[in-house]
């Protein structure tokens, strides 16, 4: 579904990473890998290190820490916040919505929309789309878009498929109206028939939590998990990224009248460096326009890879000027959303380590 929006912009981005950093070279023993296996895995997948939150730190804590940075810097005032969107698959509670918990901790007034959205790697784009829609309402002035996940809590460390690429992180993005009329183009697609490609089968209400769903099994060499852990059909996900995403990005470029040349940066979701490299080659985009270092340095942090990518690789230019960029998020659902829009000059753009006082 194609959508267009006008007079809206991202004004601030802050990404928050847990300060605990772990290196693949120190961890491969947990995945039952020999040294040659580990070397091969590291080289093909382009891994190096990642950030993992301590057990008592939730995604919402990372997001709130980010919001505090924006408040302290004076680029956001509490009374300007009209909506709190929390995009995550690791909420604080099954109920109430974590956006309400955040609303309470921030001490916001009652005239605020709070929504939790269960989304993963397409979550940044899903959140942006909703923020743009909310900003069509005259009563809404600024939308606080919070993305965050502590995926490490949905897997064991003894899981060579998911754990080494996972990263925990959160981000706060402020979306607001702007005088600039440069159109934002988006394309949103879903295919629920492939919902099993990425799934946590147990622990909710289709398969309630029980001793059986919590039983750890070694399902294959170096992969220990239970039914309440994330289950990914890696080959099906790879097919998805190669078959469905490049045509969508090409379609949204055509829709917006842009080309590979006229777009300054392609901020793609980063499942792992291997997939991003394959996609970049397939779309014949110069690799310099497709930053691809988030997973090597922080891990795949789901809906937060895109804001983290922007802050990691383009902080200075994004604070200084406007650039035409392409954003693309794709993952669990399956959901894939791509956009062409102007980005910058931002009021705030930074990555911080989570160091609560």
């Amino acid at each position: 579904m194609k959508c267009i929006f006008k007079n809206k912009r991202i004004s601030s981005i802050v990404a928050v990473a847990p300060s605990q950093e772990f290196r693949f070279d120190d961890e491969y023993q947990y995945f039952k890998m020999t040294e040659p296996q580990a070397k091969r895995f590291k080289k093909i997948m382009g891994l190096d290190r990642h950030r993992i939150a301590p057990p008592d730190v939730c995604a919402s804590d990372l997001c709130l820490y980010g919001v505090q940075q924006l408040l302290d810097a004076g680029v956001l005032k509490k009374e300007e916040i009209s909506a709190v969107l929390f995009i995550s698959q690791t909420p604080d509670y099954i109920l109430p919505p974590t956006s309400n918990v955040i609303h309470g901790k921030l001490g916001l007034g009652h005239d605020v929309i709070c929504l939790d959205i269960n989304q993963g790697c397409a979550g940044y784009l899903a959140g942006l789309q909703l923020a743009f829609m909310l900003l069509e309402l005259p009563a809404v002035s600024k939308v606080l878009l919070l993305t965050g996940d502590t995926g490490s809590k949905q897997m064991t460390r003894e899981n060579r498929i998911n754990y080494p690429i996972n990263g925990d992180a959160g981000a706060a993005t402020v979306v607001e109206r702007s005088a600039d009329e440069k159109t934002i183009f988006m394309d949103v697609k879903n295919d629920g028939s492939r919902y099993k490609a990425l799934i946590i089968p147990g622990g909710a209400y289709r398969m309630p939590s029980s001793p059986e769903t919590l039983k750890l099994r070694e399902v294959e060499e170096g992969v220990v998990k239970c039914l309440e852990h994330v289950d990914m059909d890696g080959a099906a996900v790879f097919n998805f990224t190669m078959d469905d995403i490049p045509p969508q990005i090409e379609a949204v470029l055509a829709y917006s009248g842009e080309t590979r040349d006229s777009i300054a940066h392609f901020f793609l979701h980063q499942p792992n460096p291997f997939i991003v490299t394959q996609m970049t080659q397939k779309m014949k985009i110069p690799p310099a326009k497709v930053p691809n270092n988030v997973v090597s340095l922080y891990g795949n942090c789901s809906s937060t890879t895109i804001p983290l990518n922007i802050a990691l690789n383009c902080r200075e230019p994004m604070l200084a000027e406007t650039r035409r960029v392409c954003l693309s998020g794709f993952g669990v659902g399956l959901t894939w959303i791509s956009a062409v829009m102007d980005l910058g000059p931002l009021d705030f753009c930074k990555i911080v380590d989570y160091k609560p006082a």
Partner: protein, 74 residues
């Protein structure tokens, strides 16, 4: 499709000197999810073919795989 070249590309992924048409893929030490991913990427990048996850699991020998890619190219 140049089959010799295809087997050479498979050999690189499987980290061996040579892959023969009758070689059984599952019998290679490194035939794991990472190798499967590398094969999917190779067929897409070099032959413009999207081999599906379930298709590659049903393939037995290197020649079966070559035939699958060839059929898909047509």
């Amino acid at each position: 499709m140049d089959k010799l070249e295809f087997y050479q590309r498979l050999a690189e992924i499987l980290d061996v000197e040579e892959v023969k048409p009758e070689s059984v893929l599952k019998e290679f030490d490194v035939w794991d999810s990472l190798a499967i991913l590398s094969v999917l990427a190779m067929t897409d990048a070099k032959y413009g073919v999207s081999v599906k996850a379930e298709e590659i699991r049903s393939v037995v020998t290197a020649e079966d795989l070559a035939r699958l890619v060839e059929t898909k190219q047509k």
